[in-house]
């Protein structure tokens, strides 16, 4: 075979690429061409690009090693525009598209000539594992400076600096059987289950389904395996009960068979999702799969051998060599040396030979290998050197030769003279590790199997593994295993499945593999040239040996001390070799050293895909009242209260405005406050929680859940209540009205509504099921408008048929009637201390009532006000806000609200017992008081800490803090509420508030009721 003109390593035929479609791409600023069907890695190899990156710690040149998810080196920064940057993309998993732009993540000024490599060469020896811990300690003050330099070397790729133009979404999936991996076992399993009528999802991380069959030398039914794949995939695609997901990685296996599958929907098309019909589809999608049973057909990863210089570009996995040749028509060099411990890897040499390139030698660690593939190689005249291994790769930016020698793997010794074989590629294979990551996510520890020289997964109930994923590497057996496991999985679901007919596979005799991990060198490991175990994190065999020497004996310690396995590949290639080396050093067996644990993700997933659509405007629900549009149109600023958007204040255009300037918050609030105190204001109080309570035991229930008494509250009356947890601390408050003998309407704080509802149900369902009472949330059903101020009655009278006369509709009464032609419940309760009516109407009609009020209200100066004014007005009256003036450590007594505590109620209500514990009986507890700054122009800072002695040295004994503080336009002074140690008995004393700006404010302890202490105004 000859080679393609401008792609020196591209074969003229073969592979699954589309040669008619040429794609242009840029790598490190240079333009290249590849074909549709290429990965970035195969295209780079085709173009003879050897060095794709620089290593993390030593800045050594690195090339492509693998062909899939296990690739440790070929990490690139993708993206031509700033917003489309993606760091650390694995070139072996990135499909090539036209216009792709990528660069190496490390290397300055470029990967060919990297300045840092000098540091690596010279300084590398000064950087054994853990060297950070042993140095940079003196002088102590210099650490932050040292660290600045250390940080300069941090990272692989870089974050984009602009917002992501793409979107991501989630799809919730459910199935009977999830099959992960569409190689031979997965396809056989999926087809079996699908024909059995089960709901099946089949996913595979590669661009097309088929797995190892896509580059297999084997024949199925006497035809290339890929043809069988095509037939099976076509049949599956035609079935309604099957969902096929190529380009989809199962990245996490969570509890109860919840598996996340990350589908790359558009990454193969461009760096941003291309428009379809004018709509930009999601760039990638997370399938949140709840499966009945899961079958892991995830295959195996080949283990490289660990020998000196094994990181020089041109060292590849044997299987990768085959994959590039057979799947992409790319042969990665001219002269190959294969170093192997098993028969299977011989395929690489045969494929290389088929590609018309020279196989210099096969170096087999075994004595007298005799498998069928070995015989095939012999028959072709390929030189096979037995009992030997590549002990060292020569070359710096590309392999130039392989030093091979006979070895004694058991004794870890080189036993013969080394011979140097000139070559440009070394393929190695030390065996195959089942891909057990997903099973490991479930918490099940894998177990070592000496037969296959690898860890096999332990499986929870409902999880199955088939084929290579559990160490069955033989094709015929793997196919049969897929069928068998699918039948088992379906049986567990109570379904039956018929075994499908399997394609005919020629039986192949394979010789036994031998155990070889680190290849011995003539020099001891600490003195030999670097033998890499974890290529991405630059962890060497010497580092592992040193770690064990220093007492790090658990594999977890070794990994953490050396950083082995902490890269973005999670040690897919290196972990087992690392364990083997640690075991050798500690004179233990691999399973004695520990096991290997993997965590999600199997391969990294963008934050965006995990976040899905829950970002920007949809990050969290915004809850609106029925009057929201009016508030927006009338210029309200909004405050976030829980998920609600509440009007905070309504700044108006200033009377002296030239360009429509609006009032400041202070100005708006002062105006709103005075309007309420002097005329009439209106508040949208719809966000308050409202719970409809019905049943013959409703009253008894209230008496148990609230601190105060409810037995005598008459129909037509309202009462304020405090709700405590059973530890005696206030949790919520609100007004509850008696609508009928067995019917109450409870209100809660805005933020507390959902919690209170659940609280009521908790007590009813678990503690007092004998009480006949029901709770229904009506928060959203009723819109609530508070009309308050001296003119409230006059205004309301204009539009209601309810008799508002002072004596017929008293304070803390409620009435029903019409307001603005709407049936309404009107509650005469007040949170401002002024005459107030809370009007509840069915929310669909709220805007009409609100507007009618304004139509009639203009002449009374009706002013809309927001939460800030509400806070000022209630604080002037000493009304607390649960959660602001109380904080989970405050009892009703601390708040001075003994009047709302029914000490002699027959039932020991929730919170009562706790009030008599020794700590709650203390007299020096923090208690609610008012504070009046000595300087009336001062508005104390909310959260300011209170001291008795302002001259005390730091640390100062603090005796309380300011919980609420405002400027009162009524008092023409600042004022505050605070909790203060023993405050109730300290009226009139002076306290101090030392502030960050150096000023110390003095304030007098006063009653928390600042306005209308006798409460006359609300009764008018």
């Amino acid at each position: 075979m000859s080679q393609s003109l401008n792609q020196p390593n591209r074969l003229n035929e073969g592979g699954r690429i589309d040669r008619s479609r040429r794609l242009t791409f840029t790598f490190n600023g240079k333009r290249y061409q590849g074909h549709a069907g290429d990965t970035l890695a195969s295209a780079l190899l085709a173009n003879g690009v050897d060095i794709v990156n620089r290593s993390f710690k030593y800045s050594r040149p690195r090339g492509i090693v693998a062909a899939g998810a296990e690739e440790p080196n070929a990490l690139v920064q993708l993206g031509s525009s700033e917003a489309a940057q993606v760091p650390n993309v694995r070139a072996t998993q990135q499909a090539l598209f036209d216009g792709l732009v990528a660069r190496s993540t490390n290397g300055w000024p470029n990967v060919q000539r990297d300045a840092m490599s000098l540091v690596g060469k010279l300084g590398g020896r000064f950087m054994p594992p853990g060297f950070y811990y042993k140095t940079f300690m003196a002088p102590a003050s210099m650490w932050m400076t040292y660290e600045k330099f250390i940080r300069k070397g941090a990272g692989l790729g870089r974050s984009p600096m602009e917002r992501d133009p793409d979107s991501y979404d989630h799809l919730n999936q459910h199935c009977d059987l999830l099959v992960i991996g569409a190689g031979p076992a997965g396809l056989a399993a999926a087809l079996t289950a699908a024909r059995g009528g089960a709901r099946v999802i089949l996913c595979d991380e590669q661009e097309e389904l088929g797995g190892s069959l896509l580059d297999s030398r084997e024949l199925l039914d006497h035809q290339p395996a890929a043809q069988w794949v095509q037939r099976v995939v076509e049949e599956l695609a035609g079935l309604d009960n099957v969902t096929l997901l190529p380009r989809t990685t199962a990245n996490g296996y969570h509890d109860h068979h919840f598996v996340t599958l990350h589908e790359r929907r558009t990454e193969h098309l461009g760096e941003t999702a291309p428009l379809v019909d004018g709509v930009r589809p999601s760039r990638s999608r997370m399938h949140r799969v709840r499966a009945g049973q899961v079958l892991l057909a995830t295959g195996a990863h080949e283990r490289p051998l660990v020998y000196a210089g094994n990181d020089v570009p041109g060292n590849l996995l044997a299987g990768a060599v085959s994959t590039y040749i057979r799947r992409y028509g790319v042969v990665s060099g001219d002269r190959l040396v294969l170093s192997t411990s098993n028969d299977h890897a011989y395929r690489a040499a045969l494929d290389w030979d088929d590609a018309g390139r020279e196989v210099v030698a096969i170096v087999d660690a075994r004595q007298a290998p005799d498998g069928e593939l070995v015989e095939q190689a012999r028959a072709r005249g390929i030189r096979i050197i037995e009992g030997t291994a590549v002990i060292e790769a020569k070359g710096s930016s590309r392999v130039s030769g392989a030093r091979v020698a006979t070895i004694d793997a058991q004794a870890f010794k080189v036993t013969g003279q080394a011979e140097t074989l000139p070559c440009d590629t070394i393929a190695s294979s030390g065996g195959y590790s089942p891909v057990i990551h997903l099973a490991s996510h479930t918490g099940a520890r894998p177990t070592w199997n000496d037969e296959i020289l690898g860890f096999v997964p332990s499986l929870l109930k409902g999880v199955h593994a088939a084929g290579s994923a559990r160490g069955i590497h033989d094709l015929a057996e793997g196919l049969a295993d897929g069928v068998a496991k699918a039948c088992e999985a379906l049986a567990a679901l109570g379904r039956t499945a018929q075994a499908i007919e399997l394609p005919q596979v020629d039986a192949r005799r394979e010789g036994k593999a031998c155990a070889l991990y680190q290849v011995p060198h003539e020099k001891p490991t600490l003195r030999a040239p670097k033998q890499f175990v974890d290529l991405q994190n630059d962890v060497t065999a010497a580092a592992i040996e040193l770690a064990t020497r220093e007492g790090f004996e658990s594999i977890e310690h070794v990994k953490r001390y050396t950083a082995m396995g902490f890269g973005t590949d999670q040690g897919k290639l290196g972990n087992i070799n690392g364990m083997a080396i640690a075991a050798r050093c500690l004179n233990k067996s691999i399973p004695e050293v520990g096991t290997t644990v993997f965590r999600p993700n199997y391969t990294p997933v963008t934050f965006g895909a995990i976040a899905g659509r829950h970002c920007r405007d949809l990050f969290d629900p915004e809850r609106y009242t029925a009057l929201h549009q009016w508030h927006v149109e009338n210029g309200a600023e909004f405050e976030d209260v829980g998920q609600w958007k509440r009007p905070w204040y309504f700044p108006q255009v200033r009377p002296d405005a030239v360009n429509g300037e609006r009032e400041s918050m202070a100005e708006a609030v002062a105006r709103e406050c005075l309007a309420v105190r002097e005329k009439v204001g209106i508040l949208d109080a719809s966000t308050l929680g409202k719970i409809d309570i019905q049943g013959p035991d409703a009253r008894e229930f209230l008496a148990r859940i609230y601190t105060n008494k409810w037995e005598k509250l008459a129909v037509g009356k309202c009462r304020y209540g405090l709700m405590c947890r059973d530890d005696g601390m206030l949790m919520d408050d609100g007004t509850t009205s008696c609508l009928g003998e067995n019917h109450f309407l409870m209100t809660t704080t805005t933020g507390g509504a959902a919690g209170v509802m659940e609280w009521l149900e908790l007590w009813h369902q678990t503690e007092w099921p004998e009480l006949d009472v029901t709770f229904t949330s009506v928060t959203d059903h009723w819109a609530t408008m508070t009309v308050t101020g001296p003119e409230a009655r006059k205004l309301l009278a204009e539009i209601t048929d309810i008799d508002l006369a002072r004596d017929s509709f008293k304070f803390m009464d409620w009435r029903e009637g019409r307001v603005a032609d709407m049936p309404a419940r009107v509650f005469r309760i007040s949170f401002t201390g002024e005459l107030a009516y809370e009007i509840n109407v069915q929310a669909n009609y709220a805007l009409h009532v609100w507007k009618t009020l304004f139509k009639h209200g203009e002449k009374y100066g009706l002013t809309p006000y927001g939460t800030e004014t509400m806070h000022v007005l209630r604080a002037e009256k000493g009304f607390i806000i649960a959660g602001q003036d109380s904080d989970g450590s405050v009892t009703p007594e601390d708040l001075g609200m003994q009047w709302a505590v029914g000490y002699d109620k027959p039932y020991s209500w929730v919170g009562k017992r706790a009030l008599s514990r020794s700590d709650t009986r203390r007299t020096d507890r923090k208690q609610l008081v008012g504070l009046r700054p000595k300087d009336p122009s001062v508005v104390l800072e909310e959260g300011a800490q209170i001291v008795f002695d302002p001259d005390h040295a730091i640390p100062m004994p603090m005796v309380g803090h300011v919980t609420s503080s405002y400027y009162s336009p009524t008092l023409k002074s600042g004022f505050a509420l605070a909790v203060l140690k023993g405050g109730h008995s300290r009226m009139g004393e002076t306290v101090y508030l030392p502030m960050a700006d150096g000023k110390t404010h003095a304030a007098e302890i006063v009653s928390p009721i600042f306005v209308d202490p006798k409460g006359e105004r609300q009764h008018v």
């Binding site: 000064f126 790729g157 970002c615 976030d640 020794s918 700590d919 959260g943």
Partner: protein
């Protein structure tokens, strides 16, 4: 103990690193010790170290069922800060902070304590009230801290979305410049090496299976490697404390919950402080290796599985992308879970128990790592003197009966 220094490193380089000594021995358990520490995490090792160093009690065994520092020490997000609300907790964490500040030198082990500042964001008016309350309290307690405006925040973290049109706009933040992060594993190893050098026996793969108790007094422990005796036993076993208390015949007001964390792939330096938000719920920093370390929420159920529920991770990353929209295309590498033992008031227990001679140090919840030196220091004092250290006194088990909780949880929700 082989002394570590830059010069020493150079010397070892010449000998191909063949002469490094073990960082700690692997001793055979003795029959008897003066003090047994159950739990070889950061807190346990620190306790042993300070017992030996400050109180001269060196006949000490640290009994660890797995490997040293293998529990929460190995699985946290490494944040160190002391800006707690209540005087009692602030004093304890500030005590720890002061020890952190000289720890690398004290241990001759670089724990990479990096004081890059911690920012707690406020997104609502109540958040801001809580922040002001806490920062004011910290200031008067002598703990550094200030309240930042959105403009100041933007200056320190230019890549954060501080705009008004965020779902929950950032209204301000608390900022503790002395706070930061440390290299978690190194803390355990540093204490282990220093304690070992003073004579402490570190017994790994040694699991306590019961306590030897007679007449209401402890006199040793049963382990899978035989019985070991001591008149004083301190349990520092984080998530497993409840199980140990059960062996000793009493209950603790503790629940063990999964707490998850995750890291991104390594990125070039982009974030050089720690940013936390309780409201949108996520916290984030960047390690010296370049990983973004992100803390997720605590799962509401009990769990010893070292993993939690996936939606918790989703919510956390939604919060991170909300705060840092540019991270949308950054990729999450790995997630894991720790087991946090949480008290109803989100404060620890440092206390004697109903069994004489048996002490517990637990309940650190999400605050354990940052307290490591302080916790060990105060607990060592308590074990040595058989009486609560003044800083430990407020954290006795009794408080759950008297009601004198130190309610960090209820007060301001400044967890983590």
């Amino acid at each position: 103990m082989q002394r570590y220094s830059g010069f020493g490193l150079a010397k070892h380089t010449l000998s191909h690193h063949e002469n490094w000594e073990r960082q700690w021995r692997n001793p055979t358990p003795k029959k008897q010790y003066d003090v047994i520490i159950v739990g070889g995490g950061g807190h346990g090792l620190a306790t042993a170290y300070y017992l030996a160093k400050e109180h001269g009690i060196t006949n000490v065994a640290v009994v660890e069922k797995g490997w040293l520092g293998g529990g929460n020490t190995a699985r946290n997000t490494t944040i160190v800060r002391s800006n707690y609300l209540w005087d009692e907790s602030a004093a304890l964490y500030e005590h720890a902070m002061k020890l952190w500040e000289g720890l690398s030198q004290d241990l001759n082990y670089n724990v990479m304590f990096s004081q890059r500042g911690v920012m707690n964001l406020g997104h609502t008016l109540q958040d801001m009230r809580d922040i002001q309350r806490r920062v004011n309290a910290n200031r008067l307690n002598g703990i550094d801290g200030e309240v930042l405006t959105p403009e100041q925040i933007q200056e320190i973290v230019p890549i954060m979305d501080c705009s008004k049109n965020a779902r929950y706009p950032i209204l301000g933040a608390s900022w503790q410049p002395r706070a930061g992060v440390a290299r978690h594993d190194a803390v355990a190893w540093g204490y282990a090496r220093a304690a070992d050098a003073l004579g402490v026996d570190l017994l790994q793969n040694t699991e306590v299976t019961g306590f030897k108790i007679r007449d209401g007094r402890v006199y040793g422990v049963h382990t899978n490697r035989g019985d070991i005796e001591a008149k004083t036993v301190g349990c520092v076993a984080a998530g497993n404390s409840g199980v140990l208390a059960g062996m000793a015949g009493f209950r603790l007001p503790l629940e063990s919950h999964p707490l998850q964390a995750l890291v991104s792939e390594p990125l070039k330096p982009i974030l050089d402080t720690v940013v936390m938000s309780n409201h949108v719920h996520g916290y984030i920093s960047q390690t010296d290796k370049g990983d973004l370390v992100i803390g997720a929420g605590i799962d509401g159920y009990n769990g010893y599985g070292q993993r939690g529920s996936y939606p918790t991770v989703e919510h956390t990353l939604q919060a991170i992308v909300e705060m840092f929209p540019i991270f949308s295309r950054v990729r999450m590498n790995r997630q894991w879970g720790g087991i946090v033992d949480t008290c109803p008031d989100a404060c620890p227990i440092l206390s004697a128990t109903p069994v004489k001679g048996l002490f517990f140090n637990c309940g650190w919840g999400t605050g354990g790592f940052k307290a490591t030196p302080g916790s060990g220091h105060v607990f060592a004092w308590t074990l040595a003197k058989n009486q609560a250290h003044p800083l430990a006194a407020p954290f006795s088990i009794d408080r759950f009966h008297t009601g004198a909780l130190v309610d960090e949880h209820g007060a301001a929700g400044v967890a983590h």
